[in-house]
């Protein structure tokens, strides 16, 4: 029989498949995981971020994005744009240099690695001789100056990376030209900073680690000035006119030095320890920005008093009497200032401070009073609080879209109104074909609404459910309430806050009805909230009900967490989604499935104990059904709390590891101790890994029995108007599938609209199907007489879908982790099936119905099942015949969290987490493809004798996909489909824990 189900070799179908399906990973949304370097080109107005995994990402105006990956997958240590060019140089931690350029290719340009280079010392020299510590791309664009640990400064020609040996600036040469006696060979060890004179390209400033600073004349190969700093040097910065420069030091001080022709060994003008007098931490980078009004901006990183504030990640801005130390939530990787890039301008006039912290990007508006933060249009920190679930809604009606945006804009009033300052390039991608929302649920009880229509994943609105509950943490007790007279003047910025006050608040399931604006949200402690969109603030009482899912089962004791305490009396809610009904499951186990029917005004929810149906119009519990197996003790005692705590402790240990790694990551040799610790850490990790590999792995082969634990888990809930009892009358029905392979069907009687408040909703159990293979049921779907999935509630009412065929016979599709089965309705008899696990050994992790349109013609589209397996493969399976169409490897099978986080859209796209903070977007459809397309306008090169490639306009698109079928065809497709599933993150975790134990 298998051979009949094998993808046929019908040439027509094969051709059609090519027109329908195509796999592309298109964009990475969110914030790069473990960023390690930052670069900025004032000329291109592009920002570059490098990561510890060797990725490099360029960002400009919203929608302008490029990405590259170093083959070596080594940490990117430094990024430097070549002045006035579409080129940049990266330094990796294996001491290799890489030249990247934005080049046109086939009508679109891409970021490409052009050359790579590793500096080689003379034979026999120690590795430190060529260990690069500082890079200076010279404004002539011809050479790079490379400062090394040995104190040598090598000169390398671009783009060939040929070492110009005769131009090397050796410590010996420098020392010879300094008349001082108190300078010795050791003063010229380790080049800490190289800075070109802002006016005279023939002079560079060389800062050595021990404090010696030399102004070097490249033409005459001599030191014109030298400056004797007493403290270990951290960094240097020129004043715009070149008359002064500023140095910052390890002891938390900074010093201004004059540069004039009459004194070749000047004394410092000013030496300040901004947060003295007690010992301070190093100032690792400093900017000195001039303004028209004469008061400079001094902006520096670090320098906090060592004892009391040494653990803060701060950047201080001093402008006249104003001083603020921006306090970041995570380690500062690097920062830059956006200032007037016009070389003719007299002053810097800084406009924005851009800070790359380890977990988020923060941009501060320096022009507006109070220096407010700017809301970034991209690089959102998805993991401000850990993502616990996600839900995608396609094609949002404009009205709802606007209302969500308006609710969101009321939350964003504290942001600056400044336009996004990093605005290089132009986004030429067509407007997104439709408005899509991605909703993410978080551990802290919030739901974030993201605009997922285009390339930039942009936060529209944030909903918090915390207000409904009484928690230990007082919401007013935040850390921003530092007194005005506090010193240092710390100000918390950024939104990254991974520490949840109460894990019970975590959001596990989300369901949004895009037509009615009803939103159902369910959480870790069995709480189910039904919300309505309200454009105004309001104060009201949330109706509260309890659903006892154990019913009369006796002798069970829940050993997990307690239910959440609710607030009595009216609660004030801000504009947006406001809860009006709260159902709390008893026992308060995590909600594992959720369904909302906005037309019938019913919400169904399930946990590991059973499921219930709530009428949110009459605010009455319709029924509950216990699904527990009598022998399933584990579910009763609260296994979730155990899993949860395991997860928590794991996370904590990861945090510990990360912290220890992060603790000090100066360059190697700089502080040998830290790097030793790091090495030891790495070694330990490796050993642990090896140990794991060596341990004998064996798997028990045993048939699944009814007595297995967790069989009662309700995995999926589904509302359908179908023929449940007889083939003449259809009625509303509720379907539930459990972990033990049982499907329950309930016949519902919903009173007509005019008597909706008067008569109760009734439910009767009509069917119970036990799948003999007992695999967890992960999806239930009813197909109408034309074998089309039933439309969503209100879809027909809004004229957005054909009404379902109620004449022909309906079919029931049950998807378990192992098989797909089609049954007839109303008399349930098996019609078709596709066995996945028995044949391939893989299991279904996610399944959704997706609509695929042909890229060739607008007329044709079809519904298929998009399936993600536990091996990370994506399969497309046809409806209603259940034939495998195509298979793509998508996620590594080891990436359990990536697989668990995957969410499909209704038009064949999808998202999954590639790190805690990044969603990868992929597309299975030839028609619906969201990927960046952008142009980078290269301004006319101003001052130069240099002719380089006259590419006036660079057309750029990242990851240009093969067979990009053009955006003209991306018109609105048909609107009929139905999602089977919400994602099931927690369940998957449990599942994987279980499987691991097996």
């Amino acid at each position: 029989m298998r051979r009949f189900l094998r993808p046929g070799h019908d040439p027509v179908r094969e051709r059609l498949k090519r027109d329908l399906f195509q796999f592309n990973k298109t964009v990475e949304h969110g914030f790069p995981h473990q960023p390690s370097a930052l670069g900025y080109s004032p000329f291109l107005r592009l920002m570059a971020i490098g990561t510890r995994s060797g990725a490099i990402k360029l960002y400009g105006a919203p929608g302008v994005e490029f990405m590259g990956l170093h083959e070596e997958n080594n940490t990117v240590m430094q990024i430097h744009f070549i002045p006035d060019q579409c080129q940049l140089v990266t330094l990796l931690d294996d001491n290799s240099l890489h030249l990247w350029s934005l080049k046109q290719h086939g009508g679109a340009s891409e970021l490409r690695e052009e050359h790579r280079f590793t500096l080689k010392g003379p034979p026999g020299s120690p590795p430190s001789a060529t260990q690069i510590t500082a890079v200076l791309p010279h404004s002539s664009r011809e050479v790079l100056y490379l400062g090394t640990e040995s104190g040598n400064i090598f000169v390398v020609e671009l783009p060939s990376f040929r070492v110009l040996e005769d131009r090397t600036i050796t410590p010996e040469a420098v020392l010879q030209r300094i008349p001082e006696d108190n300078c010795n060979r050791r003063s010229c060890e380790l080049v800490e900073a190289l800075r070109e004179h802002p006016k005279n390209p023939d002079q560079i400033l060389i800062g050595y680690s021990r404090g010696l600073i030399v102004l070097w004349d490249l033409q005459n190969n001599k030191a014109t000035h030298h400056f004797l700093g007493s403290q270990q040097l951290e960094n240097l910065y020129w004043q715009r006119d070149g008359s002064k420069f500023i140095s910052c030091h390890y002891d938390g001080s900074y010093t201004q030095w004059p540069v004039s022709s009459d004194n070749r060994q000047p004394e410092p003008l000013e030496n300040t320890v901004p947060y003295g007098p007690f010992p301070c931490k190093a100032i690792s980078k400093i900017y000195w920005q001039t303004t028209k009004n004469g008061l400079p901006y001094i902006i520096f990183q670090g320098g906090m008093p060592r004892a009391s504030y040494g653990d803060r990640h701060s950047i201080s801005v001093i402008h006249g009497s104003q001083q603020t130390a921006f306090d970041f939530t995570s380690r500062v990787i690097d920062f830059f200032i956006i200032f007037s890039s016009d070389p003719a301008a007299e002053f810097d006039d800084p406009s924005a401070l851009v800070v790359l912290a380890e977990e988020e990007l923060v941009v501060i508006d320096l022009k507006s009073a109070g220096w407010p933060a700017v809301h970034p249009p991209y690089l959102a920190s998805l993991h401000c609080s850990a993502i616990t679930c996600s839900h995608h809604v396609s094609n949002i009606p404009l009205k709802l879209w606007e209302r969500i945006i308006s609710a969101g804009s009321k939350q964003n009033i504290h942001y600056s109104s400044m336009p996004w300052p990093i605005d290089g390039g132009t986004n030429i991608a067509p407007d997104p074909p439709q408005r899509d929302l991605l909703l993410t649920g978080h551990e802290d009880g919030t739901v974030r609404f993201w605009d997922a229509s285009g390339v930039c994943l942009h936060l529209l609105y944030k909903l918090s459910t915390v207000r409904v509950f009484l928690t230990d943490a007082d919401p007013n007790d935040n850390m921003n309430t530092l007194g005005e007279d506090e010193w240092p003047p710390l100000r918390k910025v950024g939104t990254f806050d991974p520490y949840s006050d109460d894990p019970r608040l975590g959001i596990q399931k989300i369901y949004l009805c895009k037509y009615s604006g009803y939103l159902a949200v369910a959480g870790t402690a069995g709480q189910v909230l039904v919300m309505e969109l309200n454009d105004e603030d309001a104060e009201h009482v949330v109706d509260h009900a309890e659903a006892d899912l154990l019913q009369d089962q006796e002798g069970y004791r829940w050993k997990g967490h307690e239910k959440l305490k609710t607030r009595d009396g009216p609660v004030r809610f801000e504009a947006g989604f406001q809860p009006f009904v709260l159902v709390q499951c008893q026992p308060p186990a995590v909600v594992t499935s959720l369904a909302l029917h906005s037309e019938w005004k019913l919400v169904a929810f399930g946990t590991s104990h059973g499921f219930g149906l709530f009428d949110h119009q009459q605010k009455r519990l319709v029924f509950v059904k216990c699904t527990l197996h009598p022998s399933d003790q584990l579910a009763l005692e609260g296994p979730l709390s155990r899993v949860k705590s395991l997860k928590k402790s794991l996370r904590q240990s990861f945090r510990r590891i990360r912290r220890s790694r992060v603790s000090s990551r100066k360059r190697r040799g700089g502080s040998g101790n830290a790097s030793e610790v790091q090495e030891a850490n790495a070694k330990f990790d490796q050993d642990a890994l090896q140990e794991m590999e060596l341990a004998p792995v064996q798997r028990k082969i045993e048939a699944r029995s009814a007595e297995d634990s967790f069989t009662g888990f309700v995995r999926t809930l589904y509302f359908a108007d179908t023929f449940l009892r007889d083939s003449s009358r259809h009625c509303p029905s509720l379907w539930a599938g459990t972990n033990g392979g049982t499907v329950y069907a309930f016949c519902l009687r919903v009173p007509p609209a005019e008597r909706r408040m008067d008569e109760p909703v009734r439910a009767e159990q009509a069917k119970e199907i036990q799948l003999m293979h007992r695999a967890p049921v992960v999806g239930i779907l009813v197909l109408d007489g034309r074998s089309t999935p039933l439309p969503e509630p209100l879809e027909v009412a809004h004229d957005l879908s054909k009404s379902p065929d109620m004449q022909g016979s309906h079919q029931l599709l049950v998807v378990s982790e192992e098989q797909f089965k089609v049954f007839t309705l109303p008399k349930v008899s098996s019609k078709l099936k596709l066995k996945l696990t028995a044949l391939e050994g893989c299991r279904v992790r996610k399944v959704t119905v997706a609509n695929f349109g042909s890229c060739k013609t607008d007329e044709y589209s079809e519904n298929d099942l998009a399936v993600l397996t536990n091996l990370g493969d994506i399969q497309i399976i046809s409806l209603p015949f259940l034939k495998l169409q195509i298979r793509y490897p998508c996620i590594r099978k080891e990436d359990v969290s990536g697989i668990a986080s995957c969410v499909f859209t209704k038009y064949g796209q999808g998202f999954y987490l590639i790190s805690p903070s990044e969603f990868e977007r992929f597309s299975l459809s030839t028609k619906w493809l969201v990927e960046p397309r952008c142009i980078v306008d290269v301004p006319e090169v101003t001052s130069n004798n240099h002719v380089h490639n006259k590419s006036g306009t660079e057309n750029a698109a990242r990851k240009s996909s093969p067979g990009d079928c053009g955006e003209d065809e991306r018109k609105s497709g048909r609107l009929m489909e139905h999602a089977l599933l919400n994602d099931e993150k927690v369940l998957k975790e449990i599942q994987s824990t279980l499987e691991g134990g097996r």
Partner: protein, 347 residues
């Protein structure tokens, strides 16, 4: 005593009729007898159903020699392969059963009176170094009881010997089904699961495949101990051409055959509890679908045979375990032994 009579070769009829005829010819209408015949190789083979009766008639050349024994003093060991070598003995045993009268006789009932626990199948199409074992799982009383692990094995490839990853049996649970069969042993390499090759699949994948097929698990192994292999003699000329060195059991008919088997025989029936309009008959708190009380409500589902994908000939051809039953049916005793294995149920 000997009787000689003729049969229409083209229309042999049913075994029941033949049995009746024999009883009539021998004038032993109320005596249970065992019927056997010698095939072309001289083996003594039983005739006890339509299929082997037809086979016997079709291979008669031209004479069909039939042996009849009283059931109570039948010698079952006389049947089977390799009886050719013992032919003389067999015949003497059959003809002069009093030779054995001295020994205490153990009465063993016919194979169909047993519930099969395991079987070696496809002996004729597999290389001699391989063994295809079928495990029959009944309910939950006895665990399958084995573990598998990753390992590496040496294969003969066009480039010479190569070390490739493989899946091996790592442990047998004492008292489990796998151990009790004696057909599987620790360090046997698993080559196929229900007809699907496991090479290139991870341990977890193979685990999932085995569990998904656990109700009718057919695993092809290369036994670690190669000394107990079936030694085939000349009559298996049809498929013995396969090199015994080639470790890849990749002949097409082989895989197809097992695929079909896997598909047809591993189907299980889902259960539905219908509740047509009378919810009170099934209490809401009915603990599980398997409750005995709800037996009357249980309706067995027609499985995939109705969908037209399965030619009925395939169904019939598969007589070894093709009959079906469910736990919930009240089946005839003979079929009971095969519960949960089959494909079709018609109620």
């Amino acid at each position: 005593e000997f009787r000689r009579f003729s049969l229409e070769r083209s229309k042999p009829g049913k075994f029941e009729e033949f049995y009746g005829l024999l009883q009539h010819v021998h004038k032993i209408p109320n005596v249970d007898v065992l019927v056997g015949y010698t095939d072309i190789h001289g083996d003594l083979l039983p005739i006890n159903n339509d299929d082997n009766y037809h086979k016997a008639v079709s291979t008669a050349n031209p004479l069909l020699r039939i042996f009849i024994q009283r059931k109570e003093d039948a010698d079952y060991s006389a049947f089977g392969t390799d009886t050719m070598t013992r032919k003389k003995n067999v015949l003497s045993n059959v003809l002069r059963p009093d030779n054995h009268k001295k020994k205490p006789h153990i009465v063993i009932s016919m194979p169909q009176d047993f519930r099969p626990v395991s079987s070696i199948i496809d002996v004729d199409i597999l290389p001699e170094t391989h063994r295809r074992v079928r495990l029959y799982k009944y309910g939950t009383d006895k665990p399958l009881g084995f573990y598998i692990r990753d390992g590496s094995s040496v294969r003969v490839t066009p480039h010479g010997l190569e070390k490739v990853p493989g899946i091996f049996i790592s442990r047998l649970v004492p008292g489990g089904l796998a151990q009790s069969t004696g057909l599987l042993a620790v360090n046997d390499e698993v080559l196929e699961v229900n007809g699907i090759e496991v090479s290139g699949k991870s341990l977890d994948q193979v685990t999932d495949m085995m569990i998904a097929n656990s109700r009718n698990l057919i695993i092809t192994v290369r036994p670690a101990n190669q000394r107990n292999n079936v030694v085939r003699n000349s009559r298996t000329s049809g498929s013995s051409g396969q090199s015994t060195e080639s470790s890849l059991p990749s002949s097409t008919p082989n895989i197809l055959g097992s695929l079909q088997q896997g598909e047809e025989e591993s189907d299980e029936e889902d259960i539905i509890i219908e509740d047509s309009g009378e919810p009170q008959q099934i209490p809401k708190a009915a603990p599980t679908s398997e409750s005995i009380e709800s037996l009357s409500q249980i309706e067995l589902l027609h499985e995939s045979t109705q969908n037209g994908f399965l030619p009925s000939s395939e169904m019939n051809s598969n007589h070894s375990a093709g009959s079906i039953s469910m736990e919930y049916e009240v089946p005839e005793p003979g079929r009971k032994s095969l519960e949960e294995d089959g494909t079709i149920i018609t109620l």
